[in-house]
Amino acid sequence: MVPPQYYLLLAAAIFCIGLFGILTRRNALLFLMSVELMLNAANINLVAFSVYWGNVTGQTLSLFTMALAAAEVAIGIGIILTLYRNFGDVDVTDAASMRW
């Protein structure tokens, strides 16, 4: 069987790619996609450890994560819409009114 390290590395890689997107991009839609990537990295870990422990809790949880991701996208799109409406753009750095 595949040792968990590989899954973890893969998940870490995907997570960091998502994170990279969040850190470097300013487009809100790209943000949303990056978040999806990061959630899926978590899912990979859940599934991998589900196999590792021989227990389906992790897999069940990953289903919930997906459902939640859907919800998050729904909200996220809504937020982006509002953002666009208020700032005329989907650049996340424009919405900086909650600063000092």
């Binding site: 994170l19 969040i22 850190l23 470097t24 991009r25 300013r26 943000f31 996340v92 750095t93 919405a95 900086a96 009114s97 909650m98 600063r99 000092w100």
Partner: protein, 687 residues
């Protein structure tokens, strides 16, 4: 049996009640509370007379009285306090004599005030009589005090009354300023006095004046090598040196209150007060408090020759110094003020040179003739519509004969002209200084020389004042038509004039020496009393501890006495004669220009005021302003600095809160990485 001593507290309390009555009910009473004061002081006077008679042995068996009346602090059962602080009475010849003087002068001043204040339509009379009453009570409390702490407390209260009464006319500019100065300068002396009181407690554990456990007795025992264990000297000094220090500290208060150099500057200013107040406080009684204190604890001072020498020298110097300033003054009360300083210098000279009796004698005669002179001056001032400048007077002799003759009696006494009272007492002061100086103390001789020289100046300024005021032709319209005075002015003057003439007869030492008659009544009076408080004991002490011995000129004691008396009388007459030639003319002119540059120095009182005002105003205020700047700038600056540092760092740190999501995410990521690295390093994940 109820004796006079049981009523001694009443001597103090009666004027105190008159204070309360005048303060709270004065405005509802006729004469603004004066009657309460007169009644109270009259009562005190009668009781004092009774007390004196008792002390003299006429009425009862006990002739002295020492009683602790009230424990002020530390009297609790099983208290951890090392000593009690008490109030008590000490009635002996000295204090009973002083009681008599104070109550008499206070009574007369109250009566005189009817003429000076009430008849002149002054406002605020209840306040005035309340002040007088409180003053009398405080002074009497000081006189009967049986320990140094109680003496200090009443000493301070006397200072308060002085402040209140000098500043009586508070609506003008000068009196409040003079009052402040009087209190401050004496306070400066009292600072040392208070240290002295505290030091006495620390050293002896008691501050009692009399008795076996009193501090003079303990000090004597310590110096004699007995019972030194009870005495706790500080700073590792030997008893002699430490007692000198303590004595000098207490002397600080004396110098302040008795207006000795260099703390004399307040007294001339204090003449801003009403004249009866000047008579009562700044001539006869309060200023006497300092000298009285030295006499009261003379058993202590007699042990330390250094202190005695300093007292004598300060006294002699002050006598001369003040007398020279008196010769150029224009205001009648200023002349009297400087003469007061000068005369107290004589008393200090006497005390310092071992002349306990002489000092007491001069204290008494001075009280009478100086009160007389001030009240006489008050009478003149009433007549002159409160113009005090002698150059505006002249020729009052014919218009106010009562005042003139009484004033003349006082002046003769002040100048020391035979046979007026001042002659006898001043002569004895100088005699004591001379014989003890000849006994091997050059310093005393120097002090004596200054005192002697001052006699000349005294004669001069006294008669300059008399001639300018009463002789010659009137120089102004008010002097031509003076305001009349009534019985309440003349009465006290007459009483005091009689005393000023005859008071000297109680102690005619030269006559006694010459004739061998037993007429040195004051010597006998002061020679009895509680052991340790007698003049004989004091002369033993000065002889044993201060090494005072008697030296004589030709003719032994008698010859010395006669020579001394003749010289001082001659100088006084010379001074008076000079004044006569210069000022007893119809149109006298100021001769001060002949003094050249000395004139300015004398008019400016040797610039004593200037440097003290400079110290108080420029130096002290300068330092305080500097301190204030330092406080606002540096001390508070640090506090505000800390607050601005935190505000500044806050305003910097909050810049992290950019509002840009990416930045938060980056910070989160960095934080996570750092956390992982730290945990990993700690947990050994990287091995």
């Amino acid at each position: 049996m109820v004796g006079a001593f049981d009523f001694v507290p009443a001597i103090v309390l009666l004027p105190f009640f008159s204070f309360l009555v005048a303060l709270f009910l004065g405005k509802y009473m006729p004469k603004g509370g004066a009657l309460a004061g007169i009644t109270a002081t009259a009562g005190s006077l009668l009781l004092s007379i009774w007390t004196v008679l008792t002390v003299a042995g006429f009425t009862g068996t006990a002739t002295t009285y020492q009683q602790t009346l009230y424990t002020w602090a530390g009297g609790m059962e099983g208290t951890p306090l090392p000593y009690e602080l008490t109030f008590g009475l000490l009635i002996d010849p000295l204090s009973s004599m002083m009681l008599l003087i104070v109550t008499l002068v206070a009574f007369l001043v109250h009566v005189f005030s009817l003429g000076y204040m009430n008849d002149e339509g002054e406002t605020g009379l209840p306040r005035y009589y309340a002040g007088l009453g409180l003053f009398s009570a405080s002074m009497l409390g000081f006189v009967v005090a049986d320990n140094l702490l109680m003496a200090f407390m009443f000493f301070e209260l006397v200072g308060l009354c002085s402040y209140l009464l000098i500043g009586f006319w508070f609506r003008e500019e000068a009196p409040p300023s003079a009052a402040k100065k009087a209190f401050l300068v004496t306070r400066f002396g009292d600072y040392f006095f208070l240290i002295g009181v505290v030091a006495v407690f620390a050293t002896f554990g008691t501050a009692a004046f009399a008795g076996d456990g009193s501090f003079p007795a303990l000090a004597e025992a310590a110096l004699a090598g007995e019972g030194g264990g009870d005495v706790n000297t500080l700073f590792g000094l030997d008893p002699q040196a430490w007692f000198t220090v303590v004595g000098l500290l207490v002397l600080g208060g004396v110098v302040g209150k008795s207006a000795q150099f260099p703390l004399h500057t307040w007294l001339p200013d204090a003449m801003e007060g009403p004249t009866p107040v000047s008579a009562l406080i700044h001539a006869a009684t309060m200023v006497a408090a300092g000298v009285y204190l030295v006499a009261r604890m003379y058993g202590f001072y007699a042990l330390t020759p250094t202190t005695l020498a300093i007292i004598a020298f300060v006294g002699g110097f002050t006598a001369l110094f003040a007398a020279t300033m008196g010769v150029v003054k224009r205001e009648i009360k200023q002349v009297l003020a400087y003469s007061t300083i000068s005369q107290y210098g004589y008393m200090m000279l006497a005390l310092g040179s071992g002349g306990y009796i002489a000092a007491t004698f001069h204290l008494m005669t001075h009280a009478f003739f100086k009160a007389l002179l001030f009240l006489g001056a008050g009478s003149v001032i009433i007549a002159m519509h409160h113009n005090e400048n002698m150059w505006d007077m002249g020729g009052l002799k014919d218009r106010m004969p009562t005042t003139y003759y009484t004033f003349l009696a006082g002046s003769l006494a002040l100048a020391g002209i035979f046979p007026f009272s001042g002659f006898w007492s001043k002569d004895e002061v100088l005699y004591e200084a001379l014989v003890h100086g000849l006994g091997g103390s050059p310093l005393l001789l120097a002090a004596w020389a200054m005192g002697l020289l001052a006699v000349f100046f005294t004669g001069f300024y006294t008669f300059r004042m008399v001639f300018l005021t009463f002789h010659g032709k009137p120089r102004t319209d008010t002097a031509r038509n003076p305001h009349g005075v009534r019985w309440n002015v003349k009465g006290p003057l007459a009483v005091l004039a009689v005393l000023a003439v005859v008071a000297g007869f109680i102690n005619m030492v030269p006559v006694a020496k010459l004739t061998g008659l037993e007429i040195e009544f004051l010597h006998d009076w002061l020679a009895h009393g509680p052991s340790g408080l007698t003049s004989e004991h004091y002369s033993e002490l000065t002889h044993d501890y201060a090494n005072y011995s008697v030296g004589t000129l030709v003719g032994g004691e008698l010859g010395t006495a006669l020579i001394s008396g003749a010289v001082s009388l001659g100088l006084a007459l010379a001074g008076a004669g000079l004044a006569y030639s210069l000022y007893n003319v119809p149109e006298p002119v100021e001769h001060t220009d002949r003094l050249g540059s000395a004139k300015d120095v004398l008019f400016n009182n040797y610039y004593q005021d200037e440097y003290q005002v400079w110290l108080a105003n420029d130096v002290a205020r300068g330092i305080s302003r500097g301190a204030d700047k330092f406080d606002q700038g540096v001390v508070d600056g640090v506090v505000n600095g800390i607050s601005s540092v935190s505000l500044l760092s806050g305003s910097r740190v909050r810049r992290i809160q950019t509002g840009v999501v990416s930045n938060y995410a980056a910070l989160l990521t960095l934080g996570l990485v750092a956390l992982l690295v730290i945990l990993g390093l700690q947990g050994g994940w990287f091995v």
